[in-house]
């Protein structure tokens, strides 16, 4: 097919380009600017080359928060994806139960992130919170403000509560789009429930699950507000994930150069992981 050349197309592209420039490229360039220079305010900059990048890459503090970040993301994906699929599978397929379940499932997604953090903070407080108090009454020595394990447990529980619904809704949509004929064909073949799940439902859900995993990876990898409100990164630095550490460095210590370098590295890690994951999942996918 011959391509038509029409310069008027620029007319439609340029506004979008300007918009994206203002809300993404220019702020990003500011960060790039900081990442290669040292500043003491008053708009005085000194060229530092790749010094901040080297410093960050070699810093134990960065390694530690990156490690915590990957651990956290891995754990919540490991819980939320199977749990989300399981809930979606057990949801009703028709009748009044459908809207009821969908609305219930959407509720956590509608709550602002800082409210979620605050809710869970109060909910989990060991002396007055329902969860904290009950656990202690049951004989568990639970205190998320003091004990590292408890802090992790609470943060993960909060994230699972907040975000599993997203996986459920996406999986449910994927399941609903499978034509009944597939189940009948499997029934005629005498396939087991497990075979139906692995041979029909999972492959048919592959695309929405890829999206679900990507979204949950990106969101959890950039998580900030909820743990900030819940634990403030503590106890110590136990729940200081990448973004919390980054904000501490940029706004707490005002180390703008290293913080800018760190945010660029952070950005590239997210980009790289998403790209690798997506490419792996989508290879061998035809044009169906």
């Amino acid at each position: 097919m011959n391509k038509t050349i029409n310069q008027k197309a620029w007319f439609f592209v340029i506004p979008v380009f300007i918009l994206v420039a203002f809300n993404a490229i220019i702020p990003l360039m500011t960060v790039v600017n900081y990442a290669f220079q040292e500043t003491f305010g008053n708009n005085v900059f000194m060229w530092e080359g790749t010094r901040w990048f080297k410093q960050i890459m070699l810093s134990e503090r960065f390694h530690a928060s990156l490690g915590r970040q990957f651990l956290f993301t891995f754990i919540i994906l490991f819980i939320q994806i199977p749990l989300g699929i399981a809930i979606a599978l057990s949801m009703p397929k028709e009748g009044i139960g459908v809207p009821v379940c969908l609305v219930l499932m959407s509720m956590p997604l509608l709550i602002p992130w800082n409210v979620v953090g605050a809710m869970w903070n109060i909910f989990a407080l060991p002396d007055i919170g329902f969860l904290g108090h009950s656990l202690n009454a049951l004989g568990f020595d639970y205190n998320f403000t003091q004990q590292i394990g408890d802090a992790w447990f609470t943060t993960i529980l909060m994230d699972v509560w907040h975000w599993t619904s997203l996986v459920v809704l996406l999986s449910y949509a994927g399941l609903q789009s499978i034509q009944p004929a597939y189940y009948q064909a499997a029934e005629i073949d005498g396939a087991s429930r497990w075979a139906v799940f692995t041979k029909i439902e999972l492959p048919k859900m592959k695309k929405v699950l890829t999206i679900a995993i990507l979204l949950r990876f990106m969101d959890s990898f950039m998580i900030y507000t909820e743990p900030f409100v819940l634990t403030g990164g503590g106890p110590g630095n136990a729940t200081a994930f990448l973004s919390i550490d980054l904000v501490k460095m940029a706004l707490g210590q005002f180390d703008l150069g290293p913080a800018a370098a760190m945010s660029l590295i952070y950005f590239f890690i997210v980009l790289l992981v998403c790209w690798v994951f997506y490419t792996l999942m989508m290879r061998n996918e035809g044009n169906q």
Binding site: Q179, A181, Y182, Q184, A185, E187, I188, D189, G190, A191, K199, I200, P203, K204, N284, E285, G286, N287, Q288
Partner: protein, 354 residues
């Protein structure tokens, strides 16, 4: 071998999906369930397969009552309108899937899959995944899955509906050959009368959950037992009008058309059904009646011309061989072959069909 439905009825809540139906299908036959959407074809097939239980009535297979028996134990296979294959399996594994569960040896599987694949022209693509195939090839794979296991009953639920015209024609021609020499009962659901005529065999006309007529396809077409059956088995739709007959003279009720007829039926009022291809732009047959027509729409379909026209109160369709382009509002004469009229009584039962 035979499949028999005895007073089978299906209700869901207060809705009756299938009214009490009796039907006996013999072995080595193709049986077409012909009816418009929602006429109950799919429900009836699912009951035959054992995927769905009838509310009342029984299903007998080879003199065994199989009502309520699970589909896995019934040795049936089914092909759907959508192309249903296991998305993760290659074409080979897809075709082999019904055999693997029944425990055929791997050599046996290889042989049988190879044979069926050749029959359906899939030999070159056994290692591909379904989503790398065209729609026609995907449906061929689904057909191969149905044919590979020597089922007693093969059900095809509008298998060609989602294919484009060319592929549909191609596969439709191959289908009867696929079922030849097979010890099984084939049931084929379709909305298209032309498909029923092409496939031959037996046809059951269905409407609104009721079985209207069952018999040899050509018999059902030529001698519809009722006006409804004739309408279901007519595309474009059948033209209908009321006439009266006194002695050897017949006329439309409004006297707009009179003709002499030697037809041997009692005097009185009748409903007459005229298939569109019996109203043409040219004279056909000895008993030709002229009718004035005002063109509503004229359309071409291949080398045939469809002319929708009005005559007084009547709004009819004619189908002629050849290309006739008419403009909206044109006045013209069309010719009806009176020997092909189908006469129904007041209760719309067949009186005679020419």
């Amino acid at each position: 071998m035979s499949l028999e439905l005895k007073n089978v009825e299906k209700k869901i809540g207060l809705d009756t999906h299938i009214y009490s139906t009796n039907l006996k299908l013999e072995k080595n036959t193709i049986n077409i369930l012909l009816g418009p959407t929602l006429s109950g074809k799919t429900t009836l097939m699912q009951i035959m397969a054992g995927l769905d239980k009838p509310t009342n009535g029984e299903i007998w297979f080879n003199d065994n009552n199989v009502t309520g028996m699970k589909v896995q134990k019934r040795n049936v296979s089914m092909v759907y309108q959508q192309f249903i294959n296991y998305p993760n399996f290659t074409v080979y594994d897809n075709i082999a899937s019904p055999l693997k569960i029944t425990g055929v040896s791997s050599d046996g599987i290889k042989k049988r899959v190879g044979k069926v694949a050749e029959l359906l022209k899939l030999s070159g693509m056994l290692n591909k995944k379904p989503n790398e195939l065209s729609g026609g090839q995907q449906q061929r794979t689904a057909l191969a899955r149905a044919l590979v296991k020597d089922s007693d009953l093969i059900l095809l639920d509008e298998p060609l509906a989602n294919l484009d015209f060319k592929l549909r024609e191609e596969l439709r021609e191959e289908l009867p050959k696929l079922f030849e020499d097979r010890d099984c009962i084939v049931v084929y659901a379709t909305t298209e009368p032309s498909e029923a005529l092409l496939l031959g065999g037996n046809t059951a006309t269905l409407l609104d959950g009721k079985l209207i007529q069952y018999g040899k396809t050509l018999d059902v077409y030529n001698k519809p037992n009722s006006l409804v059956s004739a309408q279901v088995f007519s595309d474009p739709p059948m033209n209908i009008t009321k006439i009266k007959k006194i002695g050897d003279s017949c006329s439309f009720l409004d006297n707009s058309l009179n003709w002499k007829s030697k037809i041997n039926i009692k005097d009185g009022e009748y409903k007459v059904g005229i298939r569109p291809h019996n109203i043409t732009t040219y004279k056909e047959g000895k008993n030709c009646l002229e009718i004035k027509a005002k063109v509503l729409i004229s359309e071409l379909s291949g080398s045939e011309s469809l002319i929708h026209f009005t005559n007084g109160e009547l709004s009819w369709v004619s189908l002629s061989n050849g290309v006739f382009q008419k403009n909206v509002g044109d006045e013209m004469n069309l010719y009806m072959n009176a020997d092909e009229f189908i006469y129904f009584d007041k209760n719309e039962r067949l009186v005679t069909s020419g």
